[in-house]
């Protein structure tokens, strides 16, 4: 699994004299920016921004650092393949709705404006957008809190945040 290689990469942090977590927060997105299996570059930017709205970074890493985009991208090419059309359609619908409302691309909006846009969307009447957003929320939770084996929860950041890394690792997983 390539997240294991990330472990090795993390050891490089010693060279740069920064702590391991800070190093990983910078290194993961760069390292993970490998080829995408499902999303176009443009779609991936929107998905990443959406995931980061679901679980933003604060004292601990958010969905972006956890590589949730890569979880969703990979699973849509595998067990979650049946949701692929819903993603392509939902993303295009969301892009258009955002353009209509703000005249800008969703990922280019400042973070609080993205939040506002999504909150308005949730209380609005565009049922198809609302169900798309609910699906993104669910998949983001899976990618962030689930096993790192599937491309998300890189470096077990969520288990670290919850203080259960030892428990989850204590027995082979």
């Amino acid at each position: 699994m390539w997240y294991k290689s990330l472990e090795r990469l993390a050891n490089l942090s010693k060279l740069f004299r920064v702590n391991r977590r800070e190093f990983l927060m910078v290194a993961i997105p760069l390292y993970a920016a490998g080829p995408l299996e499902t999303f176009s570059r443009e779609e991936a930017r929107i998905v990443e921004a959406l995931c980061d709205q679901v679980i933003p970074a604060d004292d601990s890493p958010g969905a972006k650092q956890a590589g949730v985009l890569y979880y969703i991208d990979r699973q849509l090419a595998g067990p979650l393949q049946r949701f692929q059309p819903a993603y392509h359609e939902g993303l295009s619908r969301l892009r258009d709705a955002c353009h209509d409302r703000t005249g800008r691309d969703f990922p280019d909006l400042p973070f609080p404006e993205q939040t506002k846009f999504l909150e308005d969307m949730e209380t609005g009447h565009e049922e198809r957008l609302i169900s798309f957003w609910r699906m993104v929320i669910d998949h983001t939770m899976q990618g962030f809190y689930g096993s790192p084996a599937h491309g998300g929860n890189q470096n077990e950041v969520s288990w670290d945040m919850l203080g259960i890394r030892d428990v989850m690792e204590g027995h082979s997983h």
């Binding site: 709205q53 679901v54 679980i55 933003p56 604060d58 601990s60 958010g62 699973q75 595998g78 067990p79 979650l80 049946r82 939040t115 929320i137 669910d138 983001t140 939770m141 899976q142 962030f144 809190y145 689930g146 096993s147 084996a149 599937h150 969520s158 288990w159 945040m161 919850l162 203080g163 259960i164 030892d166 428990v167 989850m168 204590g170 027995h171 082979s172 997983h173």
Partner: protein, 542 residues
């Protein structure tokens, strides 16, 4: 061949062993395969509880499909990994390979619910044709042969037992200790949950290592007592039982005289027929009726055992209700299976004419994804406030809930779906109906009691959960081939034989008349021992 048993799960794994020990030659057919811990390991997203990336223990999304009724009454295709499919695992051991392993006996009153309470309007509630006393020796047999840890006499509401458990109970974890002390203060009778998990080495397998992954996972040390590690290996060791895996039964073959003469099945997409004298159907409360429907003949045009239209009816599960509470301090200690303490104060004798009830128990460890999806109603579903809630409360949250006994409803059913087939071209099922409104009333009562218990234990914030009216089934599915004395209103007799057939038995949760306020596996297994004893006597004696 004497007997073909279809389904190597909780019941089929026992029937095959008991018949082989009784000197009969048995073929045990299983659509799944042997699974090892190393294949699935500890992956929350592919566990039996959270199947978002597929069913770790089958059936798989590529070969199976069903129709499920939606809220608006329409039917929609559903895959095995989706909740509405009402999946039960398909592997050697069936559901027991990855279950939570609570090993409950139903109570004396659970077998005569109609006499005790009367049926509410719209329910087919009935007494069983057998009593707790009839089944008691077989509960004991199941506890000793499968292996159950528990403390006899600790539950004052338990119906009389002849023998203690073969193993002491698993020790309390932190939250169970806190809950047990609180129970005492408010007059509840808390005790350690009986579990089909080794608390000490038993039958050559080790004791539980208290890992946090239990319910929904294979056990990495085989301390969880599935039929895959107990009765099935013993059946094979007799050399009279042959287990064939990857075998999907398509129909029971009937002769012109109206007797079963064999079972037809697919293995590697090829069709085979295994002749036999007796067929035992142990495929679960959804798949057993399906096999009976798909075996229709001129004599039995609606399917075997279905001339009166009762096959597939009265589908039940449990109306799980309860509460979650947040405590000031961390109660999480990471020790599995975590579900350790229960009380049976609310299984019967509820006020306001409420019928039946549920045992209450603390929850298995809630893994992170599931936790993130079960935050209280006032917490936003996403964003920084959601993340903070999860971070601050994951280790401080305790759940108490109970499997509310459901009132059987004739309209809750499985039947063949028109024009829908599985990978092998075998007609698939559709599921429909609504659970009885009475179940929701009991659920509200049980949830309030769970909340009271949590508050007494020190919970500072609590929230309740009570299910709606959607059709029930799931992993506790039962009731669809009811046992009864009257062939007009039941499918099998007290020995699990289909009324109007000489040599076809149904042995699994399908035969339950009602499903108790408890996890059903030990009762399914006790009935498997009961029916096997009858079959051996019948076949060897005759």
């Amino acid at each position: 061949m004497d007997v073909v048993v279809v389904g190597a799960g909780a019941a089929g794994g026992i029937v095959a062993e008991q018949l082989a020990l009784g000197g009969l030659r048995v073929v045990l057919l299983e659509r799944g395969r042997w699974q090892k811990f190393s294949e699935t390991r500890h992956d929350e997203l592919r566990s039996q509880r959270t199947t978002v990336l597929g069913n770790a223990f089958g059936p798989d999304d590529e070969h199976y499909v069903r129709l499920a009724q939606m809220a608006d009454g329409s039917f929609q295709k559903v895959l095995p990994s989706e909740g509405a499919y009402n999946n039960i695992a398909a592997c050697v051991g069936g559901g027991t390979f990855s279950y939570g392993a609570m090993a409950w006996r139903y109570m004396e009153r659970d077998f005569r619910m109609r006499s005790v309470y009367g049926a509410p309007e719209g329910s087919t509630l009935e007494d069983w044709p057998i009593s707790y006393q009839d089944l008691e020796p077989f509960y004991t047999q199941a506890e000793w042969e499968i292996g159950v840890s528990g403390k006899a006499g600790a539950n004052p509401f338990e119906s009389p037992r002849q023998k203690p458990y073969p193993m002491p109970p698993l020790p309390f974890n932190r939250e169970a200790s806190v809950l047990a002390a609180a129970a005492k203060r408010i007059g509840l009778h808390a005790f350690p949950i009986p579990m089909a998990i080794n608390s000490v080495p038993y039958q050559g397998r080790p004791a539980c290592i208290a890992c946090p992954h239990c319910v929904g996972f294979a056990c990495e040390v085989n301390a969880k007592n599935s039929t895959a590690v107990t009765t099935i290996p013993r059946a094979i060791a007799t050399k009279l039982c042959e287990l064939r895996t990857g075998c999907v039964a398509s129909r029971i073959v009937m002769n012109a005289g109206g007797q079963a003469s064999g079972v037809e099945y697919f293995q590697d997409d090829k069709l085979y027929e295994q002749p036999c004298r007796v067929v035992v159907v142990s495929c679960s409360a959804t798949e057993s009726p399906r096999l009976l429907f798909n075996s229709a003949t001129k004599l039995f045009p609606q399917g075997l055992g279905n001339n009166n239209g009762w096959v597939g009816r009265n589908l039940q599960g449990h109306a799980y209700s309860g509460a979650l509470g947040i405590f000031e301090k961390d109660l999480f200690d990471g020790l599995g299976p975590a579900a350790r303490v229960a009380c049976c104060d609310f299984n019967h004798g509820l006020p306001d004419g409420l019928k039946g009830g549920a045992m209450l128990a603390n929850e298995f460890i809630c893994l992170p994804y599931l936790y993130a999806r079960t935050v209280p109603p006032q917490v936003p579903r996403w964003g920084i406030r959601h993340k903070r809630f999860v971070r601050e409360n994951y280790k401080r949250t305790v759940g108490v809930k109970g499997p509310v006994q459901e009132m059987p409803v004739f309209e809750c059913r499985v039947e063949l779906a028109p024009d829908l087939k599985d990978h092998w071209g075998i007609p698939s099922l559709r599921i429909s109906g609504h659970r009885h409104p009475h179940d929701v009333e009991v659920g509200k009562f049980i949830a309030a009691k769970a909340e009271e218990w949590l508050k007494e234990a020190g919970a500072i914030t609590t929230w309740k959960s009570v299910p709606g009216r959607g059709v029930s089934g799931g992993q506790h599915q039962a009731g669809t081939c009811r046992m009864g004395s009257d062939p007009k209103t039941s499918v099998v007799d007290r020995n699990c034989r289909i009324h109007d057939l000489d040599n076809v038995y149904v042995v699994d949760g399908s035969v339950h008349v009602n499903n108790g306020g408890f996890n059903p596996s030990l009762t399914i297994q006790a009935i498997a021992y009961w029916a096997s004893a009858h079959m051996v006597k019948d076949m060897r004696g005759g």
